[in-house]
């Protein structure tokens, strides 16, 4: 094997890939070859570093220099100066990681300091397309240990004792789930990895598959051994092409090394994994709908019981685990259940990955011990809201969750505390909202999503959510009444209680939770026909203030000729004609036009 004196790690996750990281990697390779350094320096495409806001990201070892917001133009200088001459290009280094000209270890940087990476431990560190790098990080040791030194009962007990709970949303104890399927006698059992990550703004599972696909495969094999399944499926959405490609490479490499296939570790245990692509329907993240989809049927959920552990895929006992849940398993087997319980809380041990998005400075992927106060995530890790705006609320759990307000910002994040607040962990999306977000509009956005994604099998979800959306649309158009608010609550509770599957049972949550915490915003829309945040178009009026210098620019851009006024005199908008497009406000060079 060649020895390199330097490694250049270029982020190949979807976030950075969409901002040209593949070209950046290519340029590094070209330039390094031009300078005849290709035998000394290795360029590697890796998984997500988490700090997507600062992407594309490149890290150069051995120094661990963290270059952010990379461009093609910066590449040559980094090769010339840093890689060739050893002079770190400080102008391009992520500012937070410099301490008076010295490079801080990444674990010292604000964004990473409070994080604890278990599920993401290899993301951004290994080359996900090289099984040897995973093996170097103790990869497949847990599978080896389980197959050669543990009985399947011991594996289940270890996972039970660790207290690992499903990271996909429900929070059901993984070991208990495995224990349901293990005793069921059947000629064939299945283990499925649910990688149908559907929440808007969530990308935890995608990043794990892209950055550490072998961890998921290893865990599936361990789970297969535990419950007696010899066949596994990864159900992943086709919208994740990088994840799919890396999974397929990983499966092929694992088969080649004999880590999947027949008689693994000479134990007599066979295990095989296949990838199944989903078309991106949100409901297919629900267990029974997912099974239907793999079977080639339309993705619709069905009544439980029978639970998949009794009769799942093709009627056989089946266990479905989420990507992030699985990626914890090998480390629990390697380090023991006590180790896992060192992080997190009594009832929610371990860590959780969150996708931070919305009005937050450090958009990206963070992994924190359960029980970390929300405040630390928003301010210490996330860096607060941009432009000094005031934090208003955070939406957790996506379209199934609810919002948490600044009054509850000290809440420790775990499965149970979020449910108490009327939200839920969900898969781990966290959308931050500031003073400029209208909570009615946010609720409407999520409901619009669930109405689109409802499979249509049961009436409460199919009809009920649609009616709720109609009411919300009325409210944002200024046609709502106080009665509408009560109806939203009654309807919402009914849908929650009567829907067939989790999609419908949780769909009203965003509405109910915003109604609970931000009722005054709803009332402002209904009673005063005003949108306090200035979002709902129909309730806004554009006005020209005394700052107007009469430059006439607004007159020229107004598409409906609603603005009148003489040169060098204050102009006026005819409210009856104005279509509230906002073009005048954008065009005004004196900030004289306001929206109220």
């Amino acid at each position: 094997m060649a020895i390199y004196r330097s490694h250049v790690l270029v982020c190949g996750g979807t976030g950075c890939a969409s901002s040209n990281s593949a070209k950046i990697k290519e340029r590094f390779e070209e330039k390094i070859k031009e300078m005849d350094l290709h035998k000394e320096v290795q360029v590697i495409s890796t998984g997500c570093f988490g700090l997507c806001e600062e992407g594309p990201i490149v890290v150069v070892y051995p120094e661990g220099a963290f270059y952010n917001k990379m461009t093609l133009e910066k590449v040559d200088k980094i090769v010339d100066e840093h890689i060739y001459k050893g002079r770190i290009v400080k102008d391009y280094i992520y500012e937070e990681s410099l301490d008076e000209d010295l490079i801080k270890s990444l674990s010292e940087v604000g964004f990473y300091k409070k994080q604890k990476r278990v599920a993401l431990r290899n993301c951004g560190i290994i080359n996900p397309e090289d099984i040897k790098e995973y093996i170097a990080k103790d990869g497949y040791m847990a599978l080896g240990k389980a197959l050669t030194q543990m009985t399947s009962e011991e594996v289940i007990d270890t996972v039970k004792e660790s207290g690992l709970r499903g990271r996909g949303g429900g929070g059901f104890p993984t070991g208990v789930k495995w224990g349901f399927a293990a005793p069921n006698k059947s000629d064939q059992k299945y283990i499925i990895c649910n990688a149908d990550e559907g929440d808007p703004g969530a990308f935890m599972d995608r990043s794990i598959l892209e950055g550490d696909p072998h961890a998921v495969l290893e865990a599936m094999a361990i789970g297969g051994y535990a419950i007696g399944a010899t066949k596994g499926y990864v159900y992943v959405r086709a919208e994740y092409p990088i994840a799919v490609k890396r999974l397929e490479i990983a499966i092929e490499q694992a088969k080649k090394e004999g880590l999947l296939g027949k008689d693994i570790f000479g134990s007599g245990f066979d295990f095989d994994v296949e990838v199944r692509l989903g078309a991106g329907a949100f409901v297919c993240g629900e267990e029974t709908a997912l099974i239907a989809s793999i079977e080639g049927k339309r993705g619709m959920s069905r009544n439980k019981p029978p639970f998949p552990a009794q009769a799942g895929l093709w009627g056989k006992p089946t266990i479905i685990n989420n990507v992030e849940t699985l990626s914890n398993v090998p480390q629990i087997i390697n380090n023991g259940s006590k180790w896992f319980r060192e992080f997190g809380t009594e009832k929610s041990p371990g860590t959780k990955v969150f996708a931070l998005g919305g009005k937050i400075n450090n958009t990206g992927l963070v992994e924190i011990p359960m029980g970390t106060p929300l405040k630390e995530v928003i301010y210490d890790i996330g860096g607060g809201c941009p432009d000094g705006k005031e934090f208003k609320a955070v939406q957790t759990g996506g379209p199934s969750g609810g919002c948490i307000t600044k009054e509850d910002i000290d809440t420790p994040i775990d499965f149970d505390s979020l449910v108490e607040l009327g939200s839920m962990m969900g898969s781990g999306g966290m959308i931050v909202m500031d003073e400029d977000n209208c909570m009615v509009d946010v609720a409407r956005f999520f409901l619009d999503f669930t109405v689109d994604e409802s499979c249509g099998k049961c009436s409460p979800c199919r009809e009920g959510t649609k009616r709720m959306l109609e009411i919300l649309n009325r409210i944002v158009e200024g046609k709502g009444t106080l009665e509408d608010l009560d109806n939203l609550e009654i309807l919402g509770e009914n849908i929650k209680n009567t829907s067939l599957c989790g999609l419908g049972q949780t769909a009203p949550n965003p509405v109910l939770s915003t109604l609970k915490y931000f009722r005054e915003e709803y009332e402002a829309h209904v009673l005063h026909k005003k949108c306090p945040a200035g979002v709902c178009q129909a309730l806004l009026n554009y006005k020209i203030t005394e700052n107007c210098r009469g430059c006439t620019r607004c007159v020229k851009v107004c598409p409906v000729n609603a603005i009148e006024g003489k040169v060098k005199e204050i102009h006026e908008i005819d409210q009856a004609v104005c279509i509230k497009c906002g073009a005048c406000m954008e065009a005004c060079p004196f900030d004289a036009i306001i929206r109220k």
Binding site: I3, S6, K85, K132, E133, M141, T148, E257
Partner: protein
Amino acid sequence: MKSLEELKKLRDESKKNMEMRDTDKKTRIVVGMATCGISAGARPVLQALVEEVDKKNLSDVQIVQTGCIGICRYEPIVEVYRPGEEKTTYIFVDSRKARIIIDEHIIKGEVVSEYTIGSEEKR
């Protein structure tokens, strides 16, 4: 994969190439690689150090480059930082000397005085 031992062997082999990405190492060897260093022959020195550290399985040693150290007439310069020791500056290093420095200083813990800047300045 037929046994855990086989996997462990593969792991240990693969580990070597990954060790560079661990930035918390105790011993640091710094090679001056500005124009002055490179023209005086620092590149083969750097390569020799990297190879030797790999060959001797020294997992706790980080080899980095740096810019001009400021005493260009002594290039190629190699500095060694070890916990509990003062910095040692070796001058006029070539690949042969580099290997000796690894053997004597890094492995056995004995500074190779005759290559240090101190011995030159006494002359």
